[in-house]
Symmetry: C2
Subunit: 254 residues, 2 copies
C-alpha cells in the first residue's frame, strides 16, 4: 500500500483535480484506491459524487476516532475508487488538535488501524487544503510521499521553496521515510511563454522530480466536477483523461 499526500499551500493549483483524476486512473488500471478529503471545502467529495446527505461522518471523525471505518469509507461511481468525505466541520480540526498530545500523528494513526488496512487499498491519496497548517502536516506525517501539483504560473513557483522546507522538517521531526513523489505540472498551456518558463525553471531546480507527463489546461477537466465525475468518466477520450492516465502509469513505474 502506498499513501500519497497531494499538497501545495498555493491555492488553486490543481490538488483536488489531481487527487480525483489520478485516483480514477489508478482504479481504472485495476488498483483499489481511497481518496481522503482533508480540505474543509470538500471539493474532492463533491467531485466524486458524495452528496451532502452522505457526509454525516467525515474525515473529522476519522481524525478524532469518532466513527467506525465501515461508516467512513464511501463508494464513488467509479469502480475500486472509494472516498472518506469532508465538510466544513474540518475547519475547526486545526484548533481542536492543538491540545492533543499526538496532534501531528492523528491521521497516521487513523489510517493504520486494522479495520482500514484489511480493506486492502493499493493507494491512499490525501487531498490537502491550501495551507501548511496542522491538517497538511498530518497528511505529510501519514504519507509515504508528497505529490506536488505545480501550476505554470509565477506565484505558484514562489511557494515551492516553503513547501520543500516543510517537507524537510516533517521528515526530520516525525516521518523520516517521507519522500517527494514528484512535481506534476498542471493547467499547462504550451503556447504561453510564462508557462514554458516556469516549466523550464522547475526542471532546472528539481530535475527528475518533475514528471514527464504534463496536464494540459482543458475545459473538459474543469467541467467534470459539475457532473460529479472524474474527467476519465465524463469524457474518457479527452486530453485531460489521457494525461492523467499517463501520470498514473509514470507513477507506478517510479
Amino acid at each position: 500500500m502506498k499513501c500519497i499526500a497531494v499538497a501545495n499551500q498555493k491555492g488553486g493549483v490543481g490538488k483536488t483535480t489531481t487527487a480525483i483524476n489520478l485516483g480514477a486512473a489508478l482504479s481504472e488500471s485495476g488498483k483499489k484506491v481511497l481518496v481522503v478529503d482533508l480540505d474543509p471545502q470538500g471539493n474532492a467529495s463533491t467531485g466524486l459524487g458524495i452528496e451532502m446527505a452522505r457526509r454525516s461522518v467525515t474525515t473529522y471523525d476519522l481524525l478524532f476516532g469518532s466513527a467506525a471505518i465501515g461508516d467512513l469509507v464511501q463508494t464513488s461511481d467509479t469502480e475500486r475508487l472509494f472516498v472518506i468525505p469532508a465538510t466544513s466541520d474540518l475547519s475547526s480540526a486545526d484548533l481542536d488538535m492543538v491540545g492533543h498530545q499526538r496532534r501531528s500523528f492523528l491521521l497516521r494513526d487513523a489510517l493504520r488501524q486494522r479495520e482500514l488496512t484489511r480493506l486492502g487499498f493499493d493507494y491512499i491519496l490525501i487531498d490537502c487544503p491550501p495551507s501548511l497548517n496542522l491538517l497538511t502536516v498530518n497528511a505529510m506525517v501519514a504519507a509515504d510521499s508528497v505529490l506536488v501539483p505545480l501550476q505554470s504560473e509565477f506565484f505558484a513557483l514562489e511557494g515551492l521553496s516553503q513547501l520543500m522546507l516543510t517537507i524537510r522538517s516533517v521528515r526530520a521531526e516525525a516521518n523520516p521515510a517521507l519522500r517527494i513523489e514528484g512535481i506534476i505540472m498542471t493547467m499547462y498551456d504550451g503556447r504561453n511563454r510564462l508557462a514554458q518558463q516556469v516549466h523550464a525553471d522547475a526542471r532546472d531546480t528539481l530535475g527528475d522530480l518533475v514528471f514527464e507527463t504534463v496536464i494540459p489546461r482543458t475545459v473538459r477537466v474543469s467541467e467534470a466536477p459539475s457532473y460529479s465525475q472524474p474527467v476519465l468518466s465524463y469524457d474518457s477520450g479527452s486530453k485531460g483523461s489521457i494525461a492523467y492516465r499517463a501520470l498514473a502509469r509514470e507513477l507506478e513505474q517510479r
Copy 2:
C-alpha cells in the same frame, strides 16, 4: 477611510491579483492606498516589488505590536500605493493568537492606532489567505466590507455559501457593520459555457452584489507579478488594466 478585506477560502481565485491591481487603480485615480499582506505566501508583497530584504518587519509584527508603524509601512513602485509585507512567519500567527484574549481583534486594533490613521489612507485592502482561519477572521473584524473574487469555475461557486456564513457570524459576533462590498468575477473567459453558467448563477443568487465589471483571463495579468508590478504599470493599455480601472470606478460609485 475604507477598509476592505479581499477574501475567499477557495484557492487561486484572484484574491492577490485583485488586491494588487485594484489598489493600483485606486491610487492611479488619486487615492492613498495601503495593501496589507495577510497571507504567509507573501504573494501581494512580491507582486508589489517588496524584496525579501525589505521584509524584516511584517504583518506578523503589526498583529502582535512588535514594530513601529513607520517601519511597517513600505512604499511600492506605484505612487500613493503602500504595503505592509508578509513572510512565512505569518503561518504561525494562527496558533500564536489562540491564547490571546482579543485574538479576533488584533488586526482591527492595530489598524486603528493613531500612528496609522494619521498617515491618511483613503483605502486599506487586506489580501487574505485561502482559508477561513483566524487570519481571515481578523481581516473581517477589521474591515468595513468584504470583496469576494469569484473564479468562473464550478468548485469556486461551491464555497460561496460557506464564505457567506462566515461573514454573517463575524457580523453577529464581532463586527456588526461588516457588509459585502461585492463579488468580482475573475479570470473570465466569455467563450466558455461553464464560465457563462457560473456568472449567471452568481447573478441569480447574489443579484446586484455582483459587480458589472468582469475581469477577463489574460496572459498579461499573470505575467505582471514576475516583473514585480501591477498589470496597470506592466501593460497600462491591456484588457486587465482597463478592467481593474473599471472596477475601481464602480467601487467608488457604490
